[in-house]
Symmetry: C2
Subunit: 293 residues, 2 copies
């Protein structure tokens, strides 16, 4: 199987899983369920892909990976819906469509995010092929990664840092929480869907995810200044306009490019112990790096 | 032990559990963790008390009930914080204090709610004495009760019904989701913290919780027109001002009082099969009924 074939097959499974785990638009309250599906539509499905690729290392089954992937994507989308709201980043374009509070209203956006978060944990604890022990451990991974010491905490630091000059370590801490924690959970959860990996394997996966997560953020910062809104599917140039600290503003464009390349090499180094089974994880790291090359 | 002694002991355990399961204010991001604790402070702890009382029926241990109670209260508080925001009910007083978005700001309120929801699932899957099977089943109960087919769904229906004339069955459906689902989960989760109850016991508990949950809502509607803001700790007369459908507006004050009394009798009838072990659950039903007698 080529990487492209694997990607297409995995993406198909993720869409099927989201379709399965999101409440139907015929279920009351129908407007809320429509809006939840509107929010989830589109997107690159980076977290589900990382989850599926990591599952290859531990022989995880499709059904198990689908539940974990759907849960990860629901958490990611809830965070986008809330972050886009006027009280936060106040953005009106996401994945090439009007954001949820623009398409519907602010109250609906608030509830869509809230309900997507709950639904993620419903998916993890459904009749999904995972053992009770796996359901409990995946719930814990996802809850910690998305909560106040993870993603929500990173967003809090982000809001406090607007207009302030961050040092590079401060910027890295923010991103490690805001986007890194959930990307790391995606890799860990994928691996935990199969035979439980040992501590050394988990820590190698953490190192891989940390490198890819940071690369992903630096790429995002680069594209914000080099790409246009149509390409991004969201408003370009917004970081500078909002006076947000970014890698480009702190270390410059050239050094940001060099950093992305270095992080790609770090990701591959972390995967070395796994040999060829880690092939898709390596390809996904390259995919991120190549977005700016 | 008298009911008052049991209440005091249970409430002490709930405060200890919340203290234990909420991240410390010395943990980064400190402002977010402070705001989470500010939001959780105060409150009658109705859901934790129902959880503890139901645990008596199945020999549930304290440690297990504390984790479940803390999770329930965090979900309840997250819903209050989000419901109070300007995009929803726009209220500035809660539990006798300024609401979170007034005391801090809207972005913080949004993140406090989001992070409290995650933290509830962290508490359920911590090293808390619950087996993996119990952690998974409690996670599922709580996620379903708080999501789009439960609490968040009820809030969506509530928002759509402002200014519209609801029938009594429509009003009941809304409340069954908006407040009933989480109260029902509180009772079920308490029971599930011990020896797993059989289907007949669970369905008796559901009937009890449905009666208490509805009584609780009718009482709330009555107090909104008969009590003042200082007594309530939140803005009185707000339902009428917002043109919200309530039991008082649909069936009148006298019939609302009679309904509360009937629901109290229904709650006791549902508990009959359990005998004296259900004593605290019966007393809690009386407590709700007596708020308006």
């Amino acid at each position: 199987m080529t990487f492209d074939q694997w990607m297409r097959a995995s993406l198909d499974r993720v869409e099927t899983a989201l379709e399965h785990y999101l409440p139907g638009t015929d279920v009351a309250p129908t407007k809320l369920h429509e809006a939840m599906r509107y929010a989830v539509l589109g997107g690159k499905r980076v977290r589900p892909l990382l989850c599926h690729a990591a599952g290859e290392l531990t022989g995880a089954g499709s059904q198990q990976l689908e539940a974990a992937s759907a849960a990860l994507e629901m958490i990611h989308v809830y965070s986008l819906v809330h972050d886009d709201m006027p009280a936060m980043d106040n953005d009106d374009l996401r994945r090439g469509k009007p954001t949820v509070h623009v398409q519907y209203d602010e109250a609906t956006a608030l509830l869509v995010g809230d309900a997507l978060q709950s639904q993620a944990f419903v998916a993890l604890t459904a009749d999904n092929g995972l053992s009770a022990a796996q359901q409990a451990s995946l719930t814990r991974e996802l809850a910690l990664a998305s909560g106040s010491v993870g993603m929500a905490g990173g967003q809090a630091i982000d809001l406090e840092s607007v207009g302030r000059k961050l040092t590079r370590p401060e910027l890295e801490t923010m991103h490690r929480k805001k986007t890194g924690a959930l990307l790391c959970a995606a890799v860990r959860m994928g691996a935990l869907c199969g035979e439980e990996p040992d501590a050394a394997a988990m820590s190698a996966l953490d190192a891989y995810a940390a490198a890819v997560g940071l690369a992903f953020q630096v790429v995002d910062d680069i594209l914000d200044v080099t790409a246009d809104s149509a390409t991004l599917g969201k408003t370009a140039g917004k970081d500078a306009k909002d006076d947000k600290p970014t890698y480009v503003s702190i270390i410059g464009l050239d050094a940001s490019h060099e950093l992305v390349a270095q992080l790609g090499r770090d990701a591959h180094a972390a995967l070395a112990p796994f040999g060829p089974r880690a092939g898709w994880l390596g390809e996904l790291a390259d995919l991120v790096v190549n977005l700016v090359h």
